[in-house]
Amino acid sequence: MTKVEGTTLIESLVATIIILSVVGISSIIISGSLRSHTSLPELQAISVSDSLCEQIIKEGAFSEREFSKNGLKYSVSFSTYSYSQSILKMNVVATNSLNQKVGSFNYLIPNY
């Protein structure tokens, strides 16, 4: 019976290729997963939009505006709601630095 004492060079090469492949594939999967599933900007936009709506109702300052916060750009517009003339529709659109829409939120505000 032949006693194996170590690993041949070809086996080392195969082992290296296996490790590199696994590392590569893992990195691709993890980075892809992170990129496709993260919702943090939208959550951030929700929080900012909700606070903004409360602030606008409290202050009664129904003026259109644009501003940036934490890397997101917000655009606020007002229009009359189609179902009732006595209701304002406030729309907040949040975009990222690539000008991609992160979220769009509608709020109805009674004007009485």
Binding site: G6, T7, L9, I19, H37, I87
Partner: protein
């Protein structure tokens, strides 16, 4: 050629030897170990990422649901005529993705309930709001007494605030029980000569004792056993519990989306916990120390013991055709409090049936009192009193249109919603509270 052959053979031999050289350790086993570890780490990261992503998705869906509910409530309150009572209307708020809502509007005694529900993917959410259209008290005098030959007299420590409509357009300060007048009445510019208190508007006919049972919410469940013990959610069908005879409920928690109907006298002990329900009975009694928030509709009487508390929004209503010519009486006991509205109104008043409200000593009403009979005020009303006559019982007898040791105060802004102005039905609803 021979040399070249030998050289090629030598190279193959060297390569073969080089490839078959064995190192000292198990590189292959090590590589497999590293690969397995990496796969495990990748799986862990992926699963954590998936959980985080799912959690974020749930937050986003919940936010969309909450925003839909909020927007639908704003619409229903501002434009109630879009939603007929007893019907469920489903629609898209902005004709966009994930913004469908359903709105159901129902009467709930003097108030109304707006039930709103929405579903975003597999996440659904609902909310019920208690609201009313009788929120504008701006034109209502603090005290309005029908035209009468008896001028309005104020005695003792009586304090009257705000605009008043009283016979003759002024108060007569008088000494009663040998006690001179030490209170305050409004200046003359705040007092008008009175005019006739109008009949209750047609839109209130749904509150008549003879009508209210036919106004039960649709899809209600009739129950002839014990009432539901606990808070019944307004997202479930209304539970109507019927008692055929005089009934005393001694303990339990009867709250939420429930109506108790009794074809006799309905009595509640202080151990009963009641919140947001409607009670309909010939007569309704509450023991001393009772606490709760409810709307009572009776044909004959609503009598409370002493030291009772009826929290906002509560209501005592006797509004009946009065076909058997009997009297109606609402009595708030000594040291008792009510936040809400009291209505004691006969549709066919005659000289023989006196509808009367008695507010006992040290009692307090935060809200409005409407009566087309007599109102006896011995405590405090922070709100408005609209009555045909006031009444005072002293040792010497009964005095009409006389106020003694009582107070009718103007409500602060925050309390101005406690009492409903039943004479003014606005086109918009105002939120009273969120219901479970």
């Amino acid at each position: 050629m021979a040399f070249q052959f030998k050289k090629g053979k030598l190279e193959n031999h060297l390569i073969s030897r080089f490839l078959s050289v064995r190192t000292g350790g198990g590189v292959m086993l090590f590589a497999l170990f590293i690969a397995v570890v990496l796969v495990l780490i990748t799986s862990l990261i992926l699963s954590m990422n998936a959980m985080s992503s799912r959690s974020n998705d749930i937050v986003l869906r919940k936010h969309t649901c909450r925003t839909n509910i909020r927007n639908a409530i704003v619409l229903a309150l501002a434009k109630p005529d879009l939603f007929n009572t007893g019907q469920t209307i489903s629609f898209s708020l902005f004709d966009e993705f994930d913004d469908s809502v359903s709105v159901t509007r129902n009467f709930w005694g003097l108030y109304e309930t707006i039930f709103v529900s929405t579903k975003v993917q597999d996440h659904s959410y609902s909310q019920t709001v208690l609201a009313n259209t009788f929120w504008d008290n701006s034109d209502l005098p603090s005290l309005w007494i029908n035209p009468s030959q008896f001028k309005c007299k104020a005695g003792g420590t009586t304090i009257i605030e705000g605009k008043c409509k009283v016979p003759g357009g002024r108060f007569e300060k008088t000494t009663l029980n040998k006690t001179p007048f030490t209170g305050t009445v409004p200046v003359s510019s705040m007092i008008d000569n009175t005019d006739r208190i109008p009949e209750l508007p047609d839109y209130l006919s749904r509150l008549k004792f003879e009508e209210i049972i036919s106004q039960l919410p649709p899809d209600f469940i009739m129950n002839k056993g014990e009432p539901f013990d606990g808070y019944r959610s307004f997202s479930e069908p209304c539970l109507v519990t019927y008692f055929a005879d005089n009934t005393m409920i001694e303990k339990g928690n009867i709250s939420g989306n429930q109506i108790i109907i009794c074809n006799g006298v309905m009595a509640f002990s202080a151990q009963v916990n009641i919140k947001d329900i409607i009670i309909i009975a010939q007569s309704i009694l509450f023991e001393n120390n009772f606490e709760g928030s409810l709307q009572s509709f009776a044909r004959d009487s609503i009598i409370t013991g002493d030291n009772c508390t009826f929290s906002y929004p509560s209501a005592f209503v006797i509004y009946s055709e009065n076909n058997n010519n009997s009297s109606g009486k609402i009595s708030l006991g000594v040291d008792s409090k009510l936040s809400g509205t009291i209505l004691c109104w006969s549709i066919h008043p005659t000289i023989r049936n006196h509808f009367i409200i008695v507010l006992s000593e040290k009692s307090r009403v935060d809200g409005n009192v409407f009566c087309n009979g007599y109102t006896e005020i011995n405590g405090v009303v922070v709100g408005h009193v609209i009555t045909r006559n006031t009444l005072l019982h002293l040792a010497g007898g009964a005095h009409e249109n006389t106020l003694f040791n009582c107070m009718i105060a103007e409500p602060e802004k925050i309390n101005s919603q406690y009492g409903l102005n039943l004479l003014s039905d606005k086109e918009k609803l105002k939120k009273v509270k969120l219901l479970k």
